[in-house]
Symmetry: C2
Subunit: 199 residues, 2 copies
DNA sequence: AATGAAAGGATTAAGCC
DNA sequence: GGCTTAATCCTTTCATT
């Protein structure tokens, strides 16, 4: 594997702004040939930096429930948190889910006007929820900038930059980057412990 | 103008899943010709339902600050709220901004590890902020589904479905849909009052 | 909204450094 | 390994009905 370089970031920025921009355009912008750009985009996908090409849709213009922000207090067990998060993401009404360091899930959704609790406990397991708090929203905005992000991949175990020695692995469906095999091993051990302790 | 129909929604769903899918593919999926799909996509853009073609990027894989969720209490003046929101969106470090019905701004950002307050007041006007609250995040997820969204555009003034009589107008840079010209007039009046009262 | 022709972009394969 | 060029194939656009 190779480091991401400034060119990859320039490609990301350009695609973030218009994901349908022709590769030949990108190629010109970053001074490469179209196939070279295509290769880099493919690598960005493989490595999981680009999760998908998609749309920014203005959902306030579409029917379908009241936009709310919800703060959920979840059981501290790792599996409970990720199970609830996954249930929310799969519900079809939830757009964003933020997991806090204290095992809260804050999410934004469009819900039926009446009986929020019925909707919630239809989506997630009531037993896993401590308390919750609902706020009405009047606006939802998204800035698809890369902003202050510097370049380079970070090792999820030690935080170092991932370079040529790097390894990328899928664990339980999620893609993780490591700077070296030993970080991968340590992470897997930590992960297994967490999972066991929680299950 | 014409209503959005089930075909438009099918196109949205398909593009949400892969925004680079060829129009010829979409055409086959919805049983139309490629130019017809192209026209519909152009209309979805014109009307503001599609804000842009973009990427879903896994920012946890990139360097650049600690992910946090912030709850900002802002002056209730409409202009203050939208000015602060715009400043956040333009900062480059803020990804999502939710505006609550009570003039709070809840946003997700990646910020420098130290001195959050310095960062915040570098981005937004300190005078407009009442209080704020910061939470550390361990995960940020997004579900690009259309979910329970039924079809049709909603009038921002009265909530009715926007049909053939509809009008779409840009006010202060934002695109709004109205079911009829009189709703547009009423909205403009309300908007002007709000602006005056706040300024 | 469909058709067909013309223009434009993507992808492949071969070869270079 | 990563790049380029050139050829091929596919997609989009435009004029027309």
């Amino acid at each position: 594997m190779r480091d991401l370089d400034e060119t990859d970031f320039e490609i990301l920025r350009l695609l973030l702004d218009d994901a349908r921009r022709p590769y030949s355009d990108l190629a010109e912008a970053v001074d490469l040939s179209p196939p070279a750009v295509s290769d880099r985009v493919a690598r960005l996908r493989d490595v999981g930096v680009i999760r998908r090409f998609t749309l920014d849709v203005d959902r306030t213009q579409l029917h379908g429930g009241t936009p709310v922000l919800v703060d959920l207090e979840v059981d501290r067990a790792t599996t409970a948190v990720s199970a609830v998060r996954q249930a929310l993401l799969d519900s079809g009404s939830v757009e964003h889910v933020f997991t806090t360091a204290e095992s809260h899930l804050v999410f934004q959704a469009r819900v039926p006007d009446s009986d929020f609790a019925a909707w919630l406990f239809d989506v997630v397991d009531e037993a896993a929820i401590g308390s919750y708090d609902v706020t009405l929203l009047s606006g939802v905005d998204w800035s698809p900038d890369l902003g202050g992000t510097e370049f380079g991949l970070t090792c999820v175990q030690c935080g170092n930059t991932v370079d040529t020695e790097g390894v990328s692995t899928r664990i339980d469906g999620d893609l993780y980057q490591f700077c070296c095999p030993s970080c991968e091993t340590r992470f897997r051990e930590k992960y297994a412990e967490l999972k066991e302790g929680a299950g």
